[in-house]
């Protein structure tokens, strides 16, 4: 657990220094939300109906940026070698990086949810009660993101390979998150979608813990 926290603390410290999340990722997400609002048109009920789907698409795009940034931290050969020499437990690296990514995605996700509430006319109570689901979704995206970020990082075309690899894997999160959010707006079934998110989270955690070391070595 100590190693997990050390790795997470290091990634968050780097983010605090570079401020990529604040000055690049968050503005990109908010601008995309505004464009979505403009594309849907001025009808408030249409906007509210489409808001959950649009929100999760924007969150997924933002997640790709955060994952790409996180996997670039060790992309230079010198940094990669010096980290390899430290021989940190791969499971701790996987969970630590996922924890740092979860913190970042949760902050941006909450800001985007506030933006969605204002720009796409989502009822305030639905936005508030969907927060726990959002946190579950961002935790799942973080675990999957670290895994796919590591796979893509071994390629020289990591920036373009990552979306091709990760977007299909993010589909269950996107669908379950969108359905859960819609259910909270329109009082539909919620449990099955939360359950799906939980299963995806557990699956990615297990696969990541099993494979991350091998991916590092490759």
């Amino acid at each position: 657990m100590r190693l997990v926290l050390l790795v997470a603390q290091k990634d968050l410290l780097i983010e605090r220094r570079s401020r990529v999340l604040l000055w690049q990722v968050a503005p990109f997400g908010l601008m995309t939300l505004v464009l979505c609002g403009l594309a849907v048109g001025p009808n408030a009920s249409t906007q509210a109906k489409l808001a959950p789907g649009l929100f999760y698409i924007v969150l997924t795009l933002v997640a790709l940026l955060v994952i790409n940034r996180a996997s670039q931290l060790e992309s230079s050969r010198g940094t990669a070698t010096s980290v390899q020499i430290l021989s940190i437990d791969p499971g701790a690296v996987f969970l630590g990086k996922a924890l740092a990514m979860f913190v970042q995605l949760s902050i941006v996700g909450t800001a985007l949810l506030a933006g969605t509430t204002v720009l796409l006319h989502v009822p305030l109570h639905a936005a508030i009660v969907t927060l726990p689901v959002l946190l579950l979704a961002t935790a799942t995206l973080s675990l999957a993101g670290v895994l796919y970020g590591r796979i893509a990082a071994s390629s020289t075309n990591a920036g373009t390979l990552l979306p091709a690899l990760a977007l299909p894997a993010f589909a269950p999160v996107l669908i379950a998150g969108e359905r859960a959010f819609s259910s909270l707006i329109a009082s539909g079934p919620l449990a099955r979608w939360v359950w799906l998110l939980g299963v995806a989270l557990a699956a990615y955690a297990c696969v990541g813990l099993l494979l991350y070391g091998a991916l590092e070595e490759s």
């Binding site: 190693l3 050390l6 790795v7 290091k10 410290l13 780097i14 220094r17 570079s18 931290l73 230079s76 050969r77 010198g78 940094t79 070698t81 010096s82 390899q84 020499i85 430290l86 021989s87 940190i88 070391g213 070595e217």
Partner: protein, 213 residues
């Protein structure tokens, strides 16, 4: 006593051979210098000894760890590495980088201030690494070796990018490692400082063609 023993080791990347049929024994408390033309396999041999390359054929042990198995990950904990690229995290300061490395490996964090002072980085200890020159970044890697106190020092072109003061410092640290009983293996294109008493290993085309004192 042998620190490393390689027998008919082959390392490839794709179908391209980096090292071909390498046989080598390194004795403890000895300094070795690997020389050879560009692309001869000097860095690959050093990376193999660090447990950073996976042999596709042959067998070998370094510090008692089998480099053909997953033991090579454990080996890295006992190896000191100085590469010729920028190491560590560019967005963190020298102190933050060393703290992270020490805490994750269980090294003594109390040694960090004295190590930074020894390599002349005390006045830059809290500056982002990306703002330091290439020579200063290499000094940070030297500081890490002082904190880590490895049994096996693997230094890739340790005198590159260094000014006269940096070269003197590196020579002093190598001598200190020699006198502490560590084994030092370094690569070099040019002449080494005269006082570096080393056994020469010449590598050409991924094969060791000469090994002599």
């Amino acid at each position: 006593m042998a620190v490393a023993s390689l027998s008919d080791v082959v390392v490839t990347t794709g179908s391209f051979p980096l090292l071909s049929g390498v046989n080598l024994t390194l004795e403890s408390a000895t300094t070795y210098v690997i020389t050879g033309p560009n692309g001869a396999g000097k860095t690959s041999l050093l990376r193999l000894l660090a447990g950073l390359e996976v042999p596709s054929r042959g067998r070998g042990t370094v510090l008692g760890f089998d480099i053909c198995s997953t033991e090579r990950r454990e080996l890295r904990r006992y190896v000191g590495w100085l590469g010729h690229e920028t190491s560590f995290y560019p967005d963190l300061s020298p102190t933050e980088n060393l703290l992270f490395a020490a805490r994750t490996t269980g090294a003594d964090v109390d040694l960090i201030p004295s190590a930074l002072e020894r390599v002349g980085l005390t006045h830059r200890a809290k500056v982002s690494l990306k703002l330091l020159s290439a020579g200063q970044q290499r000094r940070l890697s030297l500081a890490w070796l002082l904190v880590r106190r490895p049994q096996l020092w693997l230094l890739d072109e340790p005198f590159a990018s260094l000014d006269d003061e940096g070269r003197d410092l590196t020579s002093q640290l190598i001598k200190a490692a020699q006198s502490s009983g560590a084994t030092v293996v370094l690569t070099s294109h040019g002449a080494l400082p005269a006082e570096t008493n080393a056994t020469s290993i010449v590598i050409v085309g991924g094969r060791i063609v000469e090994s002599a004192t």
